[in-house]
Symmetry: D2
Subunit: 140 residues, 4 copies
């Protein structure tokens, strides 16, 4: 059974306005982990007809924010490096996963992958750093 | 007077579906340069109440794509590193500028800034690399 | 028993002049993988008395080059993002590992870690991209 | 005339052991700025016969450290993204420049370029982030 504090944290994270705007579904939130899913549409494409980098990054960023704030402490993104491996297309279902790699003082390090469901191909991978404030959005 | 080839390139770039979805306005496209503007709304915010990293990145990415494809040759993003300096808020007008720094064989390097209009504060800065294909979306 | 082509590739990689200059030992080279070890000295420190970022990056870069050239095809670094997690000190033994994550056309993606031997602490992590030329430094 | 505090800061920075080991010359240190020069040798090359990425990064990192510590406050590198544009060769003289772009709370952002003297070609460019501690290595 989930504890009430964890439920409050998840509710707060699931209230992300931009995730709702984009149509992304936060499927899982655990300590230092999150998985988010999105079905991409024509409206999310660039002028080459492939899914826009901003959408791919945004999907990964939703997972990153959920993972790095998963303990109720406010974490803000400092730096994200994204490598784009191959294009995604309208109709693709994309799954982003963010996984904590390290915590060191106020700094946290995360790996993020965005894969296409079905063939599992890697669309993009990120390495991302947060600064963890001495603030808790859900009190300890 | 603008030449017809340049006009065809600009029309193609301005047809970006995601820019329209986001509400971003491509204000300027020149050789290796672009400037894009966006008024941010509540719907673009994260669960901390600040503008989502995916929106800030996406705005810069629209400018980056316009700048790196500004000569009609197809360029695709390989790697983007974004540093977030300070938060932006609903109601802010954000202006992204992308500027070519170097071309070397198939590789192009771009600097991207996202600033808040008014106080001119730097919200985010990126360094970004494209791979330029031997394809022209508007023939030479 | 190792085949002669693989031996020729390894000999070429082990001839790295800078690895010898730095005193780094290439311990393992496999397909898309390498591990490199270095005992750090006072002469490798910065003015804060900790191991210089250039040495930590350089150690990881030796592993990255070995991993990405491990099949005899010439690969050159395009972009590397390094996050520094905690300081290393004179006398530390550092171990870098590079692991291929993906190959897509001419592009290869690698993860690199630099850890302190003994406590296993993560000193730095990189995400790195190569461009693979249509050249083989050891013929196929 | 230079003030004594600034002279103490410069002396501290010029005491960098690794800069001496590498043979790099710190030519200029100003507020948020530094320029460093290095003549590259065979011993700094990789197995492709070009200057090692670790040396190019290291040179830029010496400039970055000088620029980001130029006010006597201890700054440590958090994240550096380097893009490699073209190779450098033994005998080349390389000049690195680091320039502060922004300060925001404990975070500082720097641009770093490494150019070949003579033709001025861009060898590498970095975007780099420091965390500024509440410590001064030369008291205020």
């Amino acid at each position: 059974m989930e504890d009430p504090r964890q439920r409050a944290i998840e509710e707060h994270i699931r209230g992300d306005a931009y995730a709702a705007t984009l149509g992304a579904h936060i499927e899982a939130i655990g300590p230092g982990y999150s998985r988010v899913r999105l079905t991409v549409t024509q409206a999310m494409c660039n002028f080459h007809g492939t899914v826009h980098g901003g959408v791919i990054f945004g999907l990964g960023d939703i997972a990153f924010a959920a993972a790095s704030n998963s303990r109720g402490q406010t974490a803000v993104a400092l730096d994200v490096n994204i490598s784009f491996l191959r294009p995604a297309f309208p109709g693709d279902v994309l799954v982003a996963e963010a996984q904590e790699q390290d915590l060191s003082g106020p700094i946290g390090l995360y790996d993020i992958t965005v894969r296409r469901e079905g063939d599992g191909q890697l669309i993009a991978q990120s390495q991302a750093v947060v600064y963890r404030k001495r603030e808790w959005f859900v009190p300890e």
